[in-house]
């Protein structure tokens, strides 16, 4: 079943879906190499949820034909993706990966709050399911933060990782094509940028003041960062082995 939205609103929904898709992939790449078993399980489960949420949105946009959903997820040109640079960033540092998980899921809660009041009933349904699962992500991050922030060395490393990600984090809130129309038609209750102050308050209440730096140049998410191509190549690795194969 597809949702009846304008091409502009479709772009707006793609931004949410693409962030979730790439975030899910990033988490999945930690399976087997996180510092300890519980985090392996956590990143595996959280990654699966993010991919599941992306799939729910892609399905709303592409219909329930699996090939059409896959095509939307994997076959667009670089400038047609709407991911932010934070979720495209490559890192082999688990502290950075964990900090990103916390920043992303905190921001994600704000974003879905806007969509949970949508005039589109299918989006309200998806928002309800997403929130039930995201609750576990935030609980996981909170529990881990209780442990990390109580230790001076761990706290330093974590705060440094957040500082390194702070500029890219602003890109998560940048207006995207179609957002104004989505807000005007009630698809979203407000622009994502309207949530920035509340987001910053949540983050800084936990770790103190953050220098957020200057936002990345991502041209309303129409430009990909340097890390995107390699990430997409890894995601497409099996598909590209044989483009004629049926999945």
């Amino acid at each position: 079943m597809t949702v009846d939205v304008t091409p502009a609103v479709r772009e707006f929904l793609l931004a949410i879906a693409d962030d979730k898709h790439l975030m899910g992939q990033q988490h999945a790449e930690w399976i087997g190499v996180t510092p300890f078993l519980e985090e392996d399980l956590a990143f595996c489960s959280i990654g699966q949820d993010e991919l599941g949420h992306a799939a729910l949105l892609y399905e709303l946009l592409a219909g329930d034909d699996d090939a059409a959903i896959d095509s939307l997820a994997y076959d667009r040109g670089a400038d047609e993706y709407r991911s932010c640079h934070l979720v495209e960033l490559a890192t082999d540092d688990w502290t950075v990966a964990f900090a990103r998980h916390w920043l992303f899921d905190t921001a994600d809660q704000h974003r879905w709050t806007l969509v949970s009041q949508s005039t589109v009933p299918e989006l309200r349904d998806v928002a309800a399911r997403v929130e039930r699962e995201e609750r576990f992500h935030r609980m996981h991050a909170d529990n881990m933060l209780d442990v990390l922030l109580a230790d001076a060395t761990a706290r330093d490393r974590f705060v440094t990782a957040v500082a390194a990600l702070a500029p890219l984090t602003q890109g998560l809130f940048e207006p995207v094509p179609g957002e104004a129309e989505a807000v005007a038609t009630g698809v979203a209750a407000g622009p994502f940028a309207a949530e920035w102050d509340a987001f910053v308050e949540t983050i800084e209440a936990r770790i103190g003041a953050v220098d957020w730096g200057s936002a990345p140049s991502q041209a309303q998410r129409t430009q990909r960062s340097n890390d995107w191509q390699a990430l997409m190549a890894r995601m497409r690795e099996v598909i590209d082995l044989d483009l004629s194969a049926t999945w």
Binding site: L37, H53, A55
Partner: protein, 152 residues
């Protein structure tokens, strides 16, 4: 008509959850809607435990195959519904006992500590995430058994 609907329901109930061989997806509360027309057109609406569950396509195919075999069925559509959200309350009470006994899996109802399926003592959480999307890992405070906990 009623007989056909009953036969279709029985066919759906014959599909096991891949995580729990021998346990029906109907008893786990995944069947939300079933429409059967006189002309044998069947529409099945299922809801997933968690949206990222990798078993969704497999379960859908299993239901499709099982219902297609029913005499009198002409066309089958199986759909994963976006709503309602699945909760552990949907698991049949008898099934809770079975997955406790056969798989050492407890079900978290409300906020109370899940009980150990082996000895009945309370369990405490070891890991919020477990071997599948719908389960965390607990340990029994009395017999030290590792207990997986279904939650929603």
């Amino acid at each position: 008509m009623i007989d056909l609907e009953l036969a279709v329901h029985t066919a759906i109930a014959s599909v096991d959850d891949p995580e729990y061989p021998g346990v029906s997806i109907v008893d786990l509360g995944l069947l939300e809607r079933l429409d059967v027309t006189d002309s044998g057109h069947v529409h099945v609406g299922l809801i997933p435990t968690f949206s990222g569950c990798p078993a969704l396509a497999m379960i859908r195919d299993d239901v499709q195959d099982a219902v297609s075999m029913v005499h009198g069925v002409d066309r089958v559509e199986v759909e994963w519904l976006r709503a309602p959200v699945w909760t552990v309350d949907r698991i049949d009470p008898e099934t809770r006992a079975v997955i406790g006994r056969e798989f050492t899996v407890a079900v978290r109802i409300g906020t109370a500590a899940p009980e150990c399926p082996r000895c009945g003592a309370p369990t405490t959480e070891e890991s919020m995430f477990g071997p599948s999307r719908c389960r965390s890992v607990n340990r029994c405070t009395a017999c030290a058994e590792t207990v997986e906990v279904m939650r929603s």
